[in-house]
């Protein structure tokens, strides 16, 4: 069931559009903000709130890469794997992170601390290689900086 806070925030989004269904993506983002990811139950809740079918909401939730349909860790690492970052060596940064955390793209550490995902492109090409941890952008990353960077996120 949607919490009063979630309902209130979703209603604010609905007010920006001519009809409730147009706020579907925003509603899913609200749920994700509160719960970390979008479960089947959350899909049903949003569908009910917006008078949409469950299938319709699910088809939208699964289309967008930044809507998570599976649980993610407390901190999400997004490594830019676009061509500029490839030329500038993102693969060595990825390998370092992958070695330290013992996870690959798409996986979460057993303690739920980190999820590692690829992203393209962060629009930070002149400072490649770049990555984001949660909402923080880091650029000109060298593999030797990785451990210090990860230590900031508990």
């Amino acid at each position: 069931m949607l919490s009063p806070h979630e309902k209130e925030e979703i209603q604010k989004e609905i007010a920006l559009y001519p009809y409730a269904q147009a706020a579907c993506i925003d509603a899913l983002k609200v749920v994700q903000e509160h719960r970390g990811w979008i479960s089947d139950e959350a899909i049903r809740d949003v569908a009910e709130e917006l008078s949409m079918s469950v299938t319709e909401v699910d088809s939208i939730a699964t289309f967008y890469t930044r809507l998570y349909r599976k649980p993610v860790g407390r901190n999400v690492i997004l490594i830019c794997d676009s061509v500029s970052c490839m030329v500038m060596g993102y693969e060595t940064v990825y390998k370092r992170i992958s070695d330290i955390l013992s996870i690959r793209f798409g996986e979460t550490t057993p303690d739920g601390r980190f999820t590692l995902l690829p992203i393209s492109c962060l629009g930070d090409c002149d400072h490649a290689p770049s990555l984001m941890i949660n909402n923080d952008l880091y650029h000109d990353i060298a593999p030797e900086q990785v451990q210090t960077l990860l230590d900031r996120y508990k």
């Binding site: 500029s84 090409c125 002149d126």
Partner: protein, 424 residues
């Protein structure tokens, strides 16, 4: 050299707030347009300026505005949307404008909305642009407080509301009709055209979608005139352009230079040339969906016509450099993998063809390539080319591949003969 777009963008400094930007005359264009000009006059001025869209396609901006239905049915509303969903690999200019001078964009949006008589304007922002999101929210609030947004702007009777929408992350949402679907809360699938958005766009109403850099020009053009804009360029295509360079150059970055600046000048004088120990092999001039240019093209003027004459497109004007220590096949595969992952899956050639192409390139990289695969790749570039797919996603993906097969064919063949990637 005039740099209207970046004049007030100061590295590592917060952008000018409303008061500071107004003090510099930043909203003078809005005052002039709304108080002294009829909407059609504004559109005609932008037409006269020859401003072409800076998002990649280069469609004439004033023409796009004039194709907007004058008297819409239904709710009677019209919409203006800023496409700030910059997600093309290698493109990073709009982030600079959004974070560096949000009021330049907002003032341009107010004038553009007035010209087409839109009552509502949206900024469709790339999900990852978190800093820009905070900056834009503050700037929109400031513009409301100053009376430049909301009811009866400057006492002219014209009213406009502006909203910021952060996307949920799909490259296809940069395509204007997919963007409109996404803004309606749907899957970001492209729409069949016609009807064009100017007739039936957001919520079925007439809509104009323009790029950030395009709209950032508008208040300057209103203030200074069409001739001023045209004279800023080195060629017949008006204005300046924000060029960018990424890859193994000494000083990667962004520079506002006259439209038509030669490639050599951008690459050598501004980006500082190649890093020591690296040779230039190829240039993708305007984001990941443009054809390779080569060192033979260094004297080509970087404008819409110049890049076409070199067999490519200006695109976003943010170029990616291929050096001699990077495998061209891996470079192209990286782009194809991106386009394959980002295909919306709506039409078969794109949904099936891009993963197929990706697998063939993977085979080359793993030393499993065969000579006949070169023909298969060429076949794909034709059958996923313009006219054979629902939108421009797959044709765009084919541009680096088709030119890569032309310029780096020997490198593909080396992969076959050596049964591995020579760069690994």
């Amino acid at each position: 050299m005039e740099k209207p777009l970046t004049k007030y963008i100061l590295p590592d400094k917060d952008p000018l707030d409303f008061a500071a930007y107004s003090k510099e005359g930043g909203y003078a264009g809005v005052d002039k347009a709304l108080k002294q000009m009829a909407p059609d006059e504004v559109t005609n001025l932008v037409k006269d300026s020859t401003l072409q869209g800076r998002g990649g396609a280069g469609f004439p901006t004033g023409m796009k505005w004039s194709l907007t239905l004058k008297n819409p049915g239904g709710s009677g509303l019209k919409y203006l949307i800023t496409n700030a969903d910059e997600m093309e690999p290698g493109a990073f200019k709009d982030r600079y404008l959004l974070e560096g001078n949000p009021h330049q964009l907002i003032s341009g949006m107010i004038i553009a909305a007035y010209a087409i008589q839109a009552q509502k304007a949206y900024i469709f922002l790339r999900w990852a642009y978190k800093k820009a999101e905070v900056i834009l929210k503050k700037a929109i609030d400031e513009a409301y407080k100053a009376g430049y947004l909301g009811n009866n702007i400057l006492g002219t009777g014209y009213s406009l509301d502006m909203y910021l929408h952060s996307s949920a992350g799909r490259y296809i949402c940069g395509e204007e009709t997919a963007l409109i679907n996404s803004l309606e809360g749907k899957r970001g699938l492209p729409r069949s055209k016609p009807p064009f958005p100017g007739t039936s766009g957001l919520f079925g109403q007439p809509t104009v979608v323009n790029n950030v850099e395009t709209l950032s020009w508008i208040s300057h053009i209103v203030e200074n005139g069409a001739d001023w804009f045209k004279k800023l360029s080195l060629t017949g295509e008006g204005g300046t352009k924000i060029y960018g360079v990424s890859g193994r150059v000494k000083k990667p970055g962004l520079w506002e230079l006259p439209m038509g600046t030669p490639l050599r000048e951008v690459l050598m004088d501004y980006a500082g040339g190649m890093q020591d120990g690296y040779e230039l092999r190829g240039i993708i001039p305007g984001g990941g969906s443009t054809d390779f240019m080569t060192p033979d093209h260094l004297d080509v003027p970087l404008d819409f016509k110049g890049t076409v004459s070199a067999g490519s497109r200006l695109g976003t004007g943010t170029m990616i450099i291929l050096d001699d220590k990077t495998c061209p096949v891996a470079f192209i595969k990286n782009l194809i993998s991106f386009f394959s992952a980002e295909s919306c899956g709506w039409c078969t050639p794109c949904r099936e063809g891009l993963p197929w192409t990706d697998k063939i390139l993977q085979a080359f990289e793993e030393g499993r390539g065969k000579m006949e695969y070169l023909d298969t790749l060429s076949f794909h570039t034709r059958y996923m080319g313009p006219g054979n797919t629902f939108c421009a996603h797959a044709p765009g993906a084919m541009e680096p591949l088709q030119s890569g097969l032309k310029y780096f064919r020997d490198d593909f063949i080396r992969h076959i003969h050596e049964k591995s990637c020579p760069w690994r």
